[in-house]
């Protein structure tokens, strides 16, 4: 009987062009397009800052600075304009609006003051004005200090010591080739675990949601459910058949979304890897097995929730209004794993949905312990069983089933 119901549920979905489109094709295509667009925006943003020619205004600069700057001007990606004091206020306004990136102001008699260093308590000052809320401006200041002012300082020091080499007290990591101590695989995993677990959590729920509302609440709305209740099939069997059917469809729908993500990888990998260069780390077979079991048990919880809420509603619309808040909670749970650093305490893995997404994250980080894995999967299975029991009870509730 279970088979008969399961097969009918699948046939219902897979022979309906509208459902095939809305539950398999649409999510895959829309996620593909979204990620291409987001990925391109992300890469553009990164590339843009790198390519941007900063516009820097320098006021009151000493002659030695200009001479120094001429020797390096073709190596730095900046456009420097030397200005008079009366322009300062208008430049500051431009920095505020983002038209200009940086203003640099030298103290009066700068050269004389640096030269007379033996007689002075404090060295002369160079003031910088910038806008930290603008990436261009922030970067311009950093680059100007690193690439221009540091070199200029060494020139001045070289004059004092009489030898440019005396200006270098030490170097960092000149011969050290093993300085980067990192497990390549873990580093790749870390990058992958920033955004991907959250995505998996959200996709697995939304794929169950889309189809569950349509097939289960829809069946009640059309009144076909009571015909099913008149057959001598046990309520448990009907509940199980529906949940299993929905689970199969949800898994396939989620797979389609993942295909969409993979297809967008060439454009979006930068973003999905959180800027990391990595690629997919080499997981062991065991880790893939863990991922699969965690995800399948999470599908059970999702499908159980959607089924229960859909069965209790009179119409697709009503079911939608029950499921929407749950989806919000799932999204919050998924997002909160993104910001959690380190592995949560073991008991937290028992929290439905949140625990599973945390566990996926921990697998990608090579940090999931076997006890945490067991807690996650067993908790999800138990929750699924409780939900199935609740669905069965609902099937026995005449008031709900007959929409009375």
């Amino acid at each position: 009987m279970f088979n008969v119901i399961l097969r009918k549920e699948l046939k219902r979905v897979f022979t309906d062009k509208r459902l095939i489109f809305s539950s398999f094709i649409l999510p895959a295509v829309s996620i593909f397009l979204t990620y291409i667009v987001l990925g391109m925006m992300f890469s553009n943003m990164v590339g843009d800052i790198r390519e941007h020619k900063a516009s820097v205004y320098v006021q009151n600069s000493p002659g030695s600075f200009r001479e120094y700057y001429d020797t390096i001007s073709n190596k730095v990606n900046m456009n420097i304009e030397f200005i008079e004091a009366d322009k300062i206020e208008s430049i500051k306004d431009s920095i505020l609006t983002g038209e200009a990136d940086l203003l640099v102001e030298f103290e009066n008699n700068f050269e004389a003051k640096t030269a007379g260093y033996l007689d002075r308590e404090v060295p002369p000052e160079i003031k910088t004005y910038y806008n930290p809320s603008e990436d261009y401006s922030k970067d311009a200041r950093g680059n100007f200090i690193d690439q221009v002012l540091n070199g200029y300082e060494r020139e001045i020091l070289a004059d004092r010591f009489g030898n440019i080499n005396y200006t270098t007290a030490f170097v960092i990591d000149r011969t050290n080739e093993e300085g980067v101590i990192v497990n390549e695989e873990k580093a790749k995993g870390k990058a992958l675990s920033m955004i991907v677990p959250m995505l998996i959590g959200i996709i697995l729920f939304s794929s169950a949601m889309g189809i569950g509302l349509d097939t289960i609440a829809g069946e009640k709305e059309r009144g076909t459910m009571s015909t099913l209740l008149l057959t001598p099939v046990k309520r448990e069997t009907i509940a199980l058949g529906k949940v299993a059917g929905l689970a199969v469809v949800a898994v396939i729908s989620a797979l389609c979304s993942f295909v969409g993500i993979m297809a967008s990888m060439p454009f979006a990998s930068n973003m999905l890897m959180a800027g990391g260069s990595g690629g997919i780390p080499e997981f062991t077979l065991g880790q893939y097995g863990q991922l699969l079991l965690i995800m399948l048990s999470l599908v059970g919880v999702n499908v159980g929730l959607v089924c229960l809420l859909s069965v209790r509603a009179r119409s697709v619309k009503e079911a939608g209004s029950y499921v929407a808040p749950v989806f919000m909670i799932v999204m919050v749970a998924a997002f909160s794993t993104m910001f959690a650093s380190g592995t949560p305490e073991t008991y937290k893995f028992a929290i439905p949905v949140y625990g599973s997404i945390s566990a996926i994250k921990a697998v990608l980080n090579f940090e999931l312990g076997i006890d945490q894995f067991m807690v996650t999967v067993i908790s999800s299975v138990v929750v699924t069983l409780i939900l199935i029991k609740a669905i069965t009870n609902t099937f026995n509730n005449e008031k709900i089933m007959l929409n009375a």
Binding site: V4, K8, T227, L228, E398
Partner: protein, 261 residues
């Protein structure tokens, strides 16, 4: 064989329902302590006005609702304790169409046949029989959504009877049907009776009750006010036709003081 003993059904009303029914009470006694029995080989009718409790009674016999009080047996099986066995021997029909419009008549028959545990052969045989009887063959592979209302109604009868049940329960058999389809349906119910099945129907239409039913229970306000063959009811009420008898009984209940219709 259907035996109903002291059956009472009280609905709990939601706030919405209370507002809709303009009542302050949060319960509604839909059926009030009724008893009757019906045997195979007869068409038994529940006749009564809107809200009398006919649908409630038939749904309880069909295991969809649980009695608040009293017992209902179908072929000796309790509808609550042995609901699965009862469901095997009944076919429950209503005038509301309840089939997934996406599937074809052929598939729908096969699906419900399997759920009733029929073999593939048996399903094919029943489908053949019922489809020829109602002229569904030509539409067997169309989507149900594309069929006419009359055709859907015939199909829903065929689907509900795929397992060839001993007891056929039909809530308002001719409601919403055109005269030709209605005739097909009533003719078929008579044929079922001839085959020795027990047919129980509800109706608020006097003509349907008097032409179709062998025995009647007249329900008013959740109670049975008269029961038996039509002749017996006419004799008891000293009237010449069913409509007069009904109003005679209705006046009496009103006098009795429990008519809060």
């Amino acid at each position: 064989m259907i035996q109903v003993y002291n059956f009472t059904k009280i609905y709990k009303l939601s706030k919405k329902q209370m507002a809709k029914q303009k009542t302050k009470s949060n319960i509604k006694k839909a059926v009030d302590n009724i008893s009757f029995s019906a045997k195979k080989g007869e068409i038994f009718g529940l006749l009564g006005p809107n809200g009398a409790g006919k649908t409630t009674t038939l749904r309880s016999i069909a295991t969809l609702l649980k009695a608040t009080d009293g017992t209902i047996l179908v072929n000796g099986y309790d509808v609550v304790k042995d609901s699965t066995k009862v469901r095997r021997s009944i076919g429950f029909l209503t005038n509301e169409l309840k089939m997934d419009t996406h599937f074809t008549p052929g598939y729908t028959m096969a699906f419900f046949g399997s759920l009733h545990g029929l073999s593939r052969d048996k399903i094919e045989r029943r489908t053949e029989e019922l489809f020829s009887l109602f002229g569904i063959h030509a539409f067997a592979d169309k989507k149900i959504g594309d069929l006419s209302t009359g055709m859907k109604q015939k199909l829903s009868i065929a689907v509900s009877l795929v397992h060839d049940p001993e007891v056929v329960i039909f809530d308002e058999p001719t409601n919403g049907l055109d005269i030709i389809t209605a005739r097909t349906v009533t003719d078929y119910l008579r044929a079922l009776k001839e085959q020795g099945k027990l047919v129980i129907v509800s109706t608020h239409i006097m003509a349907v009750a008097s032409r179709l039913c062998d025995k009647l229970a007249i329900m008013i306000n959740g109670r049975i006010v008269a029961e038996g063959t039509i002749d017996k009811i006419l004799k008891d009420t000293k009237t010449a036709d069913l409509e007069d008898a009904f109003f005679e009984l209705y006046k009496e209940t009103a006098k009795g003081g429990n008519a809060d219709v």
